[in-house]
Symmetry: C2
Subunit: 284 residues, 2 copies
Protein backbone atom coordinates (compact mmCIF):
# COMPACT_ATOMS: atom_id res chain seq x y z
CA UNK A 1 0.00 0.00 0.00
CA UNK A 2 1.24 3.47 -0.79
CA UNK A 3 0.29 7.11 -1.26
CA UNK A 4 -0.13 6.29 -4.93
CA UNK A 5 -2.82 3.71 -4.13
CA UNK A 6 -4.93 6.56 -2.68
CA UNK A 7 -4.32 8.75 -5.73
CA UNK A 8 -4.49 6.14 -8.49
CA UNK A 9 -8.18 5.51 -7.85
CA UNK A 10 -8.91 8.94 -9.30
CA UNK A 11 -8.89 7.70 -12.85
CA UNK A 12 -10.94 10.02 -15.08
CA UNK A 13 -13.69 7.89 -16.65
CA UNK A 14 -14.51 7.80 -20.35
CA UNK A 15 -16.86 10.75 -20.60
CA UNK A 16 -17.81 9.62 -24.11
CA UNK A 17 -20.17 7.15 -22.46
CA UNK A 18 -22.16 10.07 -21.01
CA UNK A 19 -24.62 12.49 -22.60
CA UNK A 20 -23.64 16.16 -22.47
CA UNK A 21 -25.79 18.34 -20.18
CA UNK A 22 -26.37 21.60 -22.07
CA UNK A 23 -27.77 24.84 -20.65
CA UNK A 24 -28.05 28.04 -22.67
CA UNK A 25 -25.76 26.63 -25.36
CA UNK A 26 -23.03 25.68 -22.88
CA UNK A 27 -22.02 22.12 -21.89
CA UNK A 28 -21.95 22.13 -18.11
CA UNK A 29 -22.19 18.46 -17.16
CA UNK A 30 -22.25 14.78 -18.13
CA UNK A 31 -25.30 12.56 -17.61
CA UNK A 32 -25.26 8.75 -17.63
CA UNK A 33 -27.76 7.16 -20.07
CA UNK A 34 -29.68 5.50 -17.20
CA UNK A 35 -30.33 8.85 -15.51
CA UNK A 36 -31.16 10.48 -18.87
CA UNK A 37 -33.97 7.94 -19.23
CA UNK A 38 -35.45 9.23 -15.94
CA UNK A 39 -35.15 12.82 -17.19
CA UNK A 40 -36.93 11.81 -20.41
CA UNK A 41 -40.09 11.53 -18.30
CA UNK A 42 -40.05 15.35 -18.12
CA UNK A 43 -40.19 16.44 -21.79
CA UNK A 44 -41.44 19.93 -20.85
CA UNK A 45 -38.12 20.54 -19.06
CA UNK A 46 -35.53 18.56 -21.05
CA UNK A 47 -34.91 18.03 -24.78
CA UNK A 48 -33.04 14.75 -25.07
CA UNK A 49 -31.32 13.15 -28.05
CA UNK A 50 -28.69 10.41 -28.27
CA UNK A 51 -25.79 12.69 -27.26
CA UNK A 52 -27.25 15.60 -25.33
CA UNK A 53 -29.67 16.52 -22.56
CA UNK A 54 -30.64 20.14 -23.16
CA UNK A 55 -32.49 22.22 -20.61
CA UNK A 56 -35.47 23.62 -22.56
CA UNK A 57 -34.74 27.13 -23.82
CA UNK A 58 -37.97 28.54 -22.47
CA UNK A 59 -36.21 28.52 -19.07
CA UNK A 60 -34.04 31.49 -19.88
CA UNK A 61 -32.80 32.90 -16.55
CA UNK A 62 -31.25 31.68 -13.29
CA UNK A 63 -34.55 31.65 -11.40
CA UNK A 64 -36.72 29.85 -13.95
CA UNK A 65 -33.98 27.29 -14.78
CA UNK A 66 -33.38 26.50 -11.11
CA UNK A 67 -37.09 26.17 -10.42
CA UNK A 68 -37.71 23.89 -13.41
CA UNK A 69 -34.86 21.52 -12.51
CA UNK A 70 -35.83 21.60 -8.84
CA UNK A 71 -39.32 20.36 -9.71
CA UNK A 72 -37.81 17.43 -11.60
CA UNK A 73 -35.26 16.40 -8.97
CA UNK A 74 -37.86 16.62 -6.17
CA UNK A 75 -40.11 14.29 -8.18
CA UNK A 76 -37.18 11.89 -8.71
CA UNK A 77 -36.40 11.99 -4.99
CA UNK A 78 -40.01 11.11 -4.19
CA UNK A 79 -39.74 8.17 -6.65
CA UNK A 80 -36.54 6.98 -4.94
CA UNK A 81 -34.31 7.69 -7.96
CA UNK A 82 -32.39 10.24 -5.88
CA UNK A 83 -31.39 9.77 -2.24
CA UNK A 84 -29.50 11.68 0.43
CA UNK A 85 -31.45 14.89 -0.11
CA UNK A 86 -29.53 17.80 1.44
CA UNK A 87 -31.78 20.83 0.92
CA UNK A 88 -28.66 22.72 -0.17
CA UNK A 89 -28.13 24.11 -3.64
CA UNK A 90 -24.92 24.19 -5.69
CA UNK A 91 -24.29 26.65 -8.47
CA UNK A 92 -23.91 25.40 -12.05
CA UNK A 93 -21.89 27.38 -14.56
CA UNK A 94 -19.05 27.23 -17.04
CA UNK A 95 -16.50 28.17 -14.33
CA UNK A 96 -16.44 29.12 -10.65
CA UNK A 97 -15.98 32.79 -11.48
CA UNK A 98 -18.67 32.94 -14.17
CA UNK A 99 -22.24 33.94 -13.25
CA UNK A 100 -24.14 30.73 -12.43
CA UNK A 101 -26.69 29.56 -15.02
CA UNK A 102 -28.80 27.77 -12.44
CA UNK A 103 -28.58 26.08 -9.04
CA UNK A 104 -29.20 22.38 -8.37
CA UNK A 105 -29.89 20.48 -5.15
CA UNK A 106 -26.58 19.00 -3.93
CA UNK A 107 -27.82 15.39 -3.95
CA UNK A 108 -28.50 15.68 -7.70
CA UNK A 109 -25.17 17.26 -8.64
CA UNK A 110 -23.29 13.97 -9.34
CA UNK A 111 -26.23 12.73 -11.43
CA UNK A 112 -25.97 15.77 -13.70
CA UNK A 113 -22.16 15.48 -13.62
CA UNK A 114 -21.70 19.19 -13.03
CA UNK A 115 -18.64 20.52 -11.25
CA UNK A 116 -19.00 20.84 -7.47
CA UNK A 117 -16.91 23.14 -5.30
CA UNK A 118 -15.91 22.63 -1.70
CA UNK A 119 -13.48 23.91 0.89
CA UNK A 120 -11.20 21.66 2.98
CA UNK A 121 -9.18 22.98 5.92
CA UNK A 122 -5.98 21.37 7.17
CA UNK A 123 -5.93 22.20 10.91
CA UNK A 124 -2.34 21.76 12.00
CA UNK A 125 -0.17 22.44 15.04
CA UNK A 126 3.55 23.16 14.96
CA UNK A 127 5.41 21.57 17.87
CA UNK A 128 8.23 23.34 19.69
CA UNK A 129 10.60 21.00 17.81
CA UNK A 130 9.11 22.16 14.46
CA UNK A 131 7.31 18.87 13.85
CA UNK A 132 3.76 19.05 12.60
CA UNK A 133 0.61 17.56 14.05
CA UNK A 134 -2.75 17.46 12.31
CA UNK A 135 -6.28 17.46 13.76
CA UNK A 136 -8.24 14.63 12.16
CA UNK A 137 -12.00 14.17 12.47
CA UNK A 138 -13.96 10.93 12.45
CA UNK A 139 -17.22 11.31 10.53
CA UNK A 140 -20.44 10.46 12.37
CA UNK A 141 -21.83 6.96 11.72
CA UNK A 142 -25.19 8.42 10.70
CA UNK A 143 -23.91 10.34 7.67
CA UNK A 144 -25.15 9.40 4.21
CA UNK A 145 -21.70 9.58 2.65
CA UNK A 146 -18.57 7.95 4.11
CA UNK A 147 -19.86 7.29 7.66
CA UNK A 148 -17.09 6.59 10.18
CA UNK A 149 -14.34 7.64 7.77
CA UNK A 150 -11.51 10.01 8.70
CA UNK A 151 -11.76 13.61 7.52
CA UNK A 152 -10.09 17.01 7.73
CA UNK A 153 -10.83 19.10 10.84
CA UNK A 154 -13.29 21.09 8.70
CA UNK A 155 -14.63 20.48 5.20
CA UNK A 156 -17.80 21.53 3.48
CA UNK A 157 -19.51 22.02 0.19
CA UNK A 158 -19.60 25.46 -1.35
CA UNK A 159 -23.27 26.51 -1.57
CA UNK A 160 -24.47 29.18 -3.96
CA UNK A 161 -24.30 32.75 -2.70
CA UNK A 162 -21.51 32.39 -0.12
CA UNK A 163 -17.84 33.34 -0.61
CA UNK A 164 -15.19 30.66 -0.05
CA UNK A 165 -13.69 32.29 3.05
CA UNK A 166 -17.13 33.14 4.47
CA UNK A 167 -18.16 29.52 3.98
CA UNK A 168 -14.92 28.34 5.62
CA UNK A 169 -15.55 30.54 8.67
CA UNK A 170 -19.14 29.27 8.94
CA UNK A 171 -18.06 25.62 8.63
CA UNK A 172 -15.20 26.13 11.11
CA UNK A 173 -17.79 27.26 13.66
CA UNK A 174 -20.29 24.46 12.99
CA UNK A 175 -17.88 21.57 12.59
CA UNK A 176 -15.10 22.35 15.07
CA UNK A 177 -16.17 25.38 17.19
CA UNK A 178 -13.27 27.39 15.81
CA UNK A 179 -13.88 31.08 16.63
CA UNK A 180 -14.28 33.21 13.50
CA UNK A 181 -11.24 35.39 14.30
CA UNK A 182 -9.07 32.25 14.42
CA UNK A 183 -10.71 30.69 11.33
CA UNK A 184 -10.09 33.88 9.37
CA UNK A 185 -6.32 33.24 9.73
CA UNK A 186 -6.61 30.22 7.40
CA UNK A 187 -4.37 30.60 4.36
CA UNK A 188 -5.44 29.56 0.86
CA UNK A 189 -2.94 26.97 -0.35
CA UNK A 190 -4.17 25.83 -3.73
CA UNK A 191 -6.71 23.25 -4.75
CA UNK A 192 -7.22 19.55 -5.35
CA UNK A 193 -9.55 18.38 -8.10
CA UNK A 194 -10.63 15.23 -9.83
CA UNK A 195 -13.26 13.59 -11.99
CA UNK A 196 -14.25 10.12 -10.84
CA UNK A 197 -17.19 7.75 -10.88
CA UNK A 198 -18.60 7.02 -7.42
CA UNK A 199 -21.72 5.16 -6.27
CA UNK A 200 -23.53 8.52 -6.05
CA UNK A 201 -22.68 9.41 -9.67
CA UNK A 202 -19.99 11.39 -11.48
CA UNK A 203 -17.96 13.48 -9.04
CA UNK A 204 -16.25 16.46 -10.66
CA UNK A 205 -15.05 18.14 -7.50
CA UNK A 206 -12.87 21.18 -7.08
CA UNK A 207 -11.68 21.53 -3.49
CA UNK A 208 -10.28 24.86 -2.29
CA UNK A 209 -7.53 23.98 0.20
CA UNK A 210 -6.74 26.15 3.23
CA UNK A 211 -4.07 25.60 5.88
CA UNK A 212 -4.96 26.77 9.39
CA UNK A 213 -2.24 26.75 12.02
CA UNK A 214 -3.89 26.28 15.40
CA UNK A 215 -2.56 27.20 18.85
CA UNK A 216 -1.21 24.23 20.81
CA UNK A 217 -3.93 24.65 23.46
CA UNK A 218 -6.89 24.77 21.04
CA UNK A 219 -9.24 21.78 21.22
CA UNK A 220 -11.90 21.43 18.47
CA UNK A 221 -15.43 20.45 19.49
CA UNK A 222 -18.04 19.45 16.91
CA UNK A 223 -21.26 21.49 17.08
CA UNK A 224 -23.44 20.05 14.28
CA UNK A 225 -23.28 16.30 14.90
CA UNK A 226 -21.36 15.57 11.66
CA UNK A 227 -18.07 14.66 13.36
CA UNK A 228 -17.95 12.03 16.10
CA UNK A 229 -14.55 12.91 17.53
CA UNK A 230 -11.29 14.71 16.81
CA UNK A 231 -7.74 13.51 17.37
CA UNK A 232 -4.49 15.45 17.11
CA UNK A 233 -2.08 13.11 15.31
CA UNK A 234 1.63 13.49 14.55
CA UNK A 235 1.99 13.81 10.77
CA UNK A 236 3.89 10.50 10.79
CA UNK A 237 0.77 8.77 12.11
CA UNK A 238 -1.44 10.43 9.51
CA UNK A 239 1.03 9.29 6.82
CA UNK A 240 0.92 5.70 8.07
CA UNK A 241 -2.89 5.64 8.08
CA UNK A 242 -3.11 7.12 4.58
CA UNK A 243 -0.60 4.67 3.18
CA UNK A 244 -1.66 1.51 4.96
CA UNK A 245 -5.43 1.76 5.24
CA UNK A 246 -8.57 2.96 3.53
CA UNK A 247 -9.72 4.75 6.71
CA UNK A 248 -9.75 8.25 5.20
CA UNK A 249 -12.70 9.39 3.10
CA UNK A 250 -11.56 9.05 -0.52
CA UNK A 251 -11.03 12.74 -1.24
CA UNK A 252 -9.76 13.63 2.24
CA UNK A 253 -6.82 11.25 1.66
CA UNK A 254 -5.94 13.34 -1.39
CA UNK A 255 -6.03 16.55 0.65
CA UNK A 256 -3.72 15.00 3.26
CA UNK A 257 -1.21 13.91 0.60
CA UNK A 258 -1.32 17.37 -1.00
CA UNK A 259 -0.52 18.90 2.44
CA UNK A 260 2.40 16.51 2.90
CA UNK A 261 3.77 17.45 -0.52
CA UNK A 262 3.43 21.19 0.01
CA UNK A 263 5.06 21.05 3.44
CA UNK A 264 8.02 18.97 2.28
CA UNK A 265 7.01 15.90 4.31
CA UNK A 266 7.10 13.72 1.17
CA UNK A 267 10.64 13.95 -0.27
CA UNK A 268 11.17 15.29 -3.78
CA UNK A 269 12.86 12.06 -4.82
CA UNK A 270 9.93 9.87 -3.76
CA UNK A 271 9.56 7.46 -6.70
CA UNK A 272 5.88 8.35 -7.20
CA UNK A 273 6.33 12.12 -6.77
CA UNK A 274 5.35 13.13 -10.31
CA UNK A 275 2.30 10.88 -10.37
CA UNK A 276 1.23 12.09 -6.91
CA UNK A 277 1.34 15.78 -7.86
CA UNK A 278 -0.37 15.09 -11.19
CA UNK A 279 -3.02 13.00 -9.46
CA UNK A 280 -4.06 15.96 -7.27
CA UNK A 281 -5.06 17.92 -10.34
CA UNK A 282 -7.03 15.82 -12.80
CA UNK A 283 -9.41 18.14 -14.55
CA UNK A 284 -12.20 16.61 -16.60
Amino acid sequence: MSYLDRVARFVPPDLGAYLAFRVDGRDVGHIAPAFARHLAEFPRVFDIDARTVTLAERFSDFGSRSEAVDGVVRALARNGVLSDWREERYRVGVSFGAPPLLAIERAAVPRFGVRAYGVHVNGFVRGSDGRLGMWIGTRAKERGIAPGKLDQIVAGGQPVGLGVLDNLIKECGEEASIPSALAARAKPAGAVFYTVERPEGLRRDFLFIYDLELPADFIPRNADGEIERFELMPLEKVAAIVQESDDFKFNCALVVIDFMIRHGFIPGDHPDYAELVAGMHCYG
Copy 2:
Protein backbone atom coordinates in the same frame (compact mmCIF):
# COMPACT_ATOMS: atom_id res chain seq x y z
CA MET B 1 -2.89 41.91 -17.82
CA SER B 2 -3.27 39.31 -15.13
CA TYR B 3 -1.82 36.16 -13.56
CA LEU B 4 -4.06 34.23 -15.92
CA ASP B 5 -2.36 35.79 -18.95
CA ARG B 6 0.89 34.11 -17.83
CA VAL B 7 -0.84 30.78 -17.32
CA ALA B 8 -3.22 30.78 -20.28
CA ARG B 9 -0.34 30.57 -22.74
CA PHE B 10 0.26 27.00 -21.58
CA VAL B 11 -2.37 25.57 -23.87
CA PRO B 12 -1.63 21.91 -24.61
CA PRO B 13 -1.26 21.58 -28.39
CA ASP B 14 -3.04 19.00 -30.52
CA LEU B 15 -0.64 16.09 -30.19
CA GLY B 16 -2.51 14.31 -32.98
CA ALA B 17 -0.49 16.44 -35.41
CA TYR B 18 2.70 14.75 -34.15
CA LEU B 19 4.17 11.30 -34.79
CA ALA B 20 4.63 9.11 -31.74
CA PHE B 21 8.25 8.44 -30.71
CA ARG B 22 8.41 4.78 -29.74
CA VAL B 23 11.25 3.02 -27.93
CA ASP B 24 11.13 -0.62 -26.85
CA GLY B 25 7.36 -0.73 -27.46
CA ARG B 26 6.69 2.34 -25.32
CA ASP B 27 5.56 5.77 -26.58
CA VAL B 28 7.90 8.25 -24.94
CA GLY B 29 7.60 11.38 -27.09
CA HIS B 30 5.96 13.31 -29.93
CA ILE B 31 7.82 14.31 -33.08
CA ALA B 32 6.68 17.00 -35.55
CA PRO B 33 6.47 15.80 -39.19
CA ALA B 34 9.18 18.28 -40.27
CA PHE B 35 11.70 16.84 -37.80
CA ALA B 36 10.65 13.27 -38.67
CA ARG B 37 11.71 14.02 -42.25
CA HIS B 38 15.21 14.83 -40.97
CA LEU B 39 15.25 11.60 -38.97
CA ALA B 40 14.21 9.69 -42.11
CA GLU B 41 17.73 10.35 -43.40
CA PHE B 42 18.93 7.81 -40.81
CA PRO B 43 17.05 4.61 -41.75
CA ARG B 44 19.55 2.42 -39.87
CA VAL B 45 18.46 4.10 -36.62
CA PHE B 46 14.76 4.93 -37.09
CA ASP B 47 11.82 3.05 -38.61
CA ILE B 48 9.33 5.70 -39.70
CA ASP B 49 5.75 5.38 -40.88
CA ALA B 50 2.91 7.91 -41.09
CA ARG B 51 2.11 7.80 -37.36
CA THR B 52 5.25 6.61 -35.59
CA VAL B 53 9.00 7.07 -35.35
CA THR B 54 10.38 3.87 -33.85
CA LEU B 55 13.93 3.52 -32.61
CA ALA B 56 15.24 0.43 -34.39
CA GLU B 57 14.93 -2.64 -32.17
CA ARG B 58 18.53 -3.68 -32.74
CA PHE B 59 19.41 -0.96 -30.21
CA SER B 60 18.20 -2.92 -27.24
CA ASP B 61 19.81 -1.41 -24.16
CA PHE B 62 20.40 2.02 -22.60
CA GLY B 63 23.96 2.33 -23.91
CA SER B 64 23.39 1.32 -27.52
CA ARG B 65 20.15 3.34 -27.80
CA SER B 66 21.80 6.47 -26.39
CA GLU B 67 24.82 6.07 -28.66
CA ALA B 68 22.70 5.55 -31.81
CA VAL B 69 20.53 8.62 -31.15
CA ASP B 70 23.57 10.68 -30.17
CA GLY B 71 25.17 9.98 -33.54
CA VAL B 72 22.04 11.25 -35.30
CA VAL B 73 21.57 14.40 -33.25
CA ARG B 74 25.26 15.33 -33.58
CA ALA B 75 24.94 15.01 -37.36
CA LEU B 76 21.79 17.18 -37.29
CA ALA B 77 23.61 19.77 -35.15
CA ARG B 78 26.45 19.89 -37.69
CA ASN B 79 23.86 20.42 -40.46
CA GLY B 80 22.29 23.28 -38.50
CA VAL B 81 18.98 21.45 -37.89
CA LEU B 82 19.65 21.57 -34.12
CA SER B 83 21.09 24.55 -32.28
CA ASP B 84 21.97 25.50 -28.71
CA TRP B 85 23.97 22.33 -28.09
CA ARG B 86 24.41 21.84 -24.33
CA GLU B 87 26.58 18.72 -24.01
CA GLU B 88 24.20 17.59 -21.27
CA ARG B 89 22.02 14.51 -21.47
CA TYR B 90 18.47 14.05 -20.27
CA ARG B 91 16.95 10.71 -19.43
CA VAL B 92 14.07 9.34 -21.53
CA GLY B 93 11.60 6.90 -20.02
CA VAL B 94 7.95 6.22 -19.36
CA SER B 95 8.11 8.04 -16.00
CA PHE B 96 10.67 9.78 -13.80
CA GLY B 97 10.88 6.79 -11.47
CA ALA B 98 11.16 4.17 -14.21
CA PRO B 99 14.60 3.04 -15.41
CA PRO B 100 15.55 5.28 -18.36
CA LEU B 101 15.41 3.68 -21.81
CA LEU B 102 18.04 6.03 -23.23
CA ALA B 103 19.54 9.49 -22.75
CA ILE B 104 19.32 12.34 -25.28
CA GLU B 105 21.29 15.58 -25.57
CA ARG B 106 19.26 18.34 -23.92
CA ALA B 107 19.08 20.51 -27.08
CA ALA B 108 17.31 17.68 -28.91
CA VAL B 109 14.77 16.92 -26.17
CA PRO B 110 12.01 19.30 -27.41
CA ARG B 111 12.44 17.97 -30.96
CA PHE B 112 11.71 14.43 -29.78
CA GLY B 113 8.93 15.77 -27.52
CA VAL B 114 10.07 13.69 -24.58
CA ARG B 115 9.39 14.80 -21.03
CA ALA B 116 12.11 16.93 -19.46
CA TYR B 117 12.66 17.32 -15.74
CA GLY B 118 14.06 20.31 -13.92
CA VAL B 119 14.32 21.78 -10.45
CA HIS B 120 13.34 25.39 -9.60
CA VAL B 121 14.13 26.96 -6.22
CA ASN B 122 12.14 29.82 -4.71
CA GLY B 123 14.69 31.69 -2.57
CA PHE B 124 12.67 33.73 -0.13
CA VAL B 125 13.22 35.85 2.98
CA ARG B 126 10.70 36.37 5.77
CA GLY B 127 10.75 39.90 7.14
CA SER B 128 10.37 40.65 10.86
CA ASP B 129 6.80 41.75 10.04
CA GLY B 130 6.09 38.35 8.42
CA ARG B 131 6.05 39.74 4.89
CA LEU B 132 7.88 37.78 2.23
CA GLY B 133 10.63 38.87 -0.11
CA MET B 134 11.93 36.83 -3.03
CA TRP B 135 15.37 36.78 -4.66
CA ILE B 136 14.95 37.16 -8.42
CA GLY B 137 17.73 36.61 -10.96
CA THR B 138 18.18 38.32 -14.31
CA ARG B 139 19.44 35.87 -16.94
CA ALA B 140 22.65 36.74 -18.75
CA LYS B 141 22.24 38.39 -22.17
CA GLU B 142 24.44 35.74 -23.79
CA ARG B 143 22.16 32.78 -23.02
CA GLY B 144 20.58 30.82 -25.88
CA ILE B 145 17.17 30.67 -24.23
CA ALA B 146 15.38 33.67 -22.68
CA PRO B 147 18.35 36.07 -22.43
CA GLY B 148 17.74 39.00 -20.07
CA LYS B 149 14.55 37.47 -18.67
CA LEU B 150 13.79 37.21 -14.93
CA ASP B 151 14.27 33.84 -13.26
CA GLN B 152 14.20 32.07 -9.91
CA ILE B 153 17.29 32.41 -7.70
CA VAL B 154 18.28 28.91 -8.86
CA ALA B 155 16.86 26.68 -11.59
CA GLY B 156 18.36 23.91 -13.64
CA GLY B 157 17.66 20.94 -15.79
CA GLN B 158 17.75 17.49 -14.26
CA PRO B 159 20.56 15.57 -15.99
CA VAL B 160 20.71 11.81 -16.02
CA GLY B 161 22.40 10.15 -13.06
CA LEU B 162 21.91 12.89 -10.44
CA GLY B 163 19.23 12.95 -7.72
CA VAL B 164 16.90 15.95 -7.55
CA LEU B 165 18.25 17.24 -4.24
CA ASP B 166 21.87 16.59 -5.26
CA ASN B 167 21.25 18.53 -8.46
CA LEU B 168 19.60 21.34 -6.49
CA ILE B 169 22.63 21.60 -4.17
CA LYS B 170 25.01 21.64 -7.15
CA GLU B 171 22.98 24.31 -8.98
CA CYS B 172 22.64 26.39 -5.78
CA GLY B 173 26.44 26.53 -5.62
CA GLU B 174 26.99 27.33 -9.29
CA GLU B 175 24.18 29.80 -9.82
CA ALA B 176 23.97 31.66 -6.51
CA SER B 177 26.96 30.59 -4.32
CA ILE B 178 24.57 29.11 -1.76
CA PRO B 179 26.60 26.88 0.61
CA SER B 180 25.53 23.25 0.42
CA ALA B 181 24.47 23.10 4.09
CA LEU B 182 22.08 26.00 3.47
CA ALA B 183 20.87 24.62 0.11
CA ALA B 184 20.10 21.28 1.76
CA ARG B 185 17.44 23.04 3.86
CA ALA B 186 15.30 23.57 0.72
CA LYS B 187 11.88 21.97 1.10
CA PRO B 188 10.14 20.11 -1.72
CA ALA B 189 6.83 21.85 -2.33
CA GLY B 190 5.25 20.10 -5.28
CA ALA B 191 5.69 20.52 -8.98
CA VAL B 192 4.61 22.59 -11.96
CA PHE B 193 4.20 20.96 -15.36
CA TYR B 194 2.97 21.75 -18.81
CA THR B 195 3.02 20.73 -22.46
CA VAL B 196 3.45 23.63 -24.83
CA GLU B 197 4.86 24.43 -28.27
CA ARG B 198 7.84 26.78 -28.16
CA PRO B 199 10.27 27.93 -30.86
CA GLU B 200 12.68 25.20 -29.74
CA GLY B 201 10.04 22.47 -30.14
CA LEU B 202 7.53 20.68 -27.92
CA ARG B 203 8.23 21.37 -24.25
CA ARG B 204 6.86 18.71 -21.92
CA ASP B 205 8.47 19.95 -18.74
CA PHE B 206 8.06 18.70 -15.21
CA LEU B 207 9.57 21.13 -12.71
CA PHE B 208 10.28 19.97 -9.16
CA ILE B 209 9.62 23.01 -6.94
CA TYR B 210 11.58 23.68 -3.76
CA ASP B 211 11.17 26.56 -1.31
CA LEU B 212 14.37 27.75 0.37
CA GLU B 213 14.05 30.26 3.21
CA LEU B 214 17.24 32.32 3.27
CA PRO B 215 18.71 34.29 6.18
CA ALA B 216 18.12 38.05 5.93
CA ASP B 217 21.87 38.70 5.59
CA PHE B 218 22.51 36.20 2.78
CA ILE B 219 23.44 37.74 -0.58
CA PRO B 220 23.52 35.44 -3.64
CA ARG B 221 26.44 35.78 -6.09
CA ASN B 222 26.41 34.05 -9.47
CA ALA B 223 29.41 31.81 -10.12
CA ASP B 224 28.81 30.36 -13.61
CA GLY B 225 27.97 33.45 -15.69
CA GLU B 226 24.35 32.40 -16.31
CA ILE B 227 22.80 35.10 -14.10
CA GLU B 228 23.68 38.76 -14.58
CA ARG B 229 22.38 40.06 -11.26
CA PHE B 230 20.11 39.25 -8.32
CA GLU B 231 17.57 41.47 -6.62
CA LEU B 232 15.61 40.87 -3.41
CA MET B 233 12.07 42.04 -4.16
CA PRO B 234 9.03 42.34 -1.89
CA LEU B 235 6.48 39.76 -3.05
CA GLU B 236 4.17 42.64 -4.00
CA LYS B 237 6.75 43.83 -6.54
CA VAL B 238 7.18 40.32 -7.96
CA ALA B 239 3.38 40.08 -8.27
CA ALA B 240 3.20 43.40 -10.14
CA ILE B 241 5.94 42.35 -12.58
CA VAL B 242 4.32 38.98 -13.25
CA GLN B 243 0.91 40.50 -13.84
CA GLU B 244 1.88 43.59 -15.81
CA SER B 245 4.84 42.50 -17.91
CA ASP B 246 6.38 39.66 -19.84
CA ASP B 247 9.72 40.13 -18.06
CA PHE B 248 9.81 36.68 -16.44
CA LYS B 249 10.93 33.67 -18.47
CA PHE B 250 7.73 31.87 -19.50
CA ASN B 251 7.98 28.97 -17.07
CA CYS B 252 9.51 30.98 -14.21
CA ALA B 253 6.34 33.10 -14.14
CA LEU B 254 4.39 29.91 -13.54
CA VAL B 255 6.67 28.95 -10.64
CA VAL B 256 6.20 32.40 -9.06
CA ILE B 257 2.40 32.16 -9.32
CA ASP B 258 2.48 28.65 -7.81
CA PHE B 259 4.51 30.04 -4.86
CA MET B 260 2.00 32.85 -4.37
CA ILE B 261 -0.87 30.38 -4.35
CA ARG B 262 0.81 27.98 -1.92
CA HIS B 263 1.75 30.78 0.48
CA GLY B 264 -1.71 32.34 0.50
CA PHE B 265 -0.60 35.52 -1.26
CA ILE B 266 -3.27 35.05 -3.95
CA PRO B 267 -6.66 34.97 -2.18
CA GLY B 268 -8.89 31.91 -2.46
CA ASP B 269 -11.70 34.00 -3.94
CA HIS B 270 -9.53 35.37 -6.76
CA PRO B 271 -11.81 35.05 -9.81
CA ASP B 272 -9.22 33.04 -11.76
CA TYR B 273 -8.19 30.80 -8.83
CA ALA B 274 -9.44 27.51 -10.30
CA GLU B 275 -7.92 28.18 -13.71
CA LEU B 276 -4.61 29.25 -12.13
CA VAL B 277 -4.23 26.07 -10.08
CA ALA B 278 -5.29 23.91 -13.01
CA GLY B 279 -2.89 25.75 -15.30
CA MET B 280 0.08 24.78 -13.11
CA HIS B 281 -0.57 21.12 -13.76
CA CYS B 282 -1.31 20.42 -17.40
CA TYR B 283 -0.04 16.95 -18.13
CA GLY B 284 0.21 15.94 -21.77
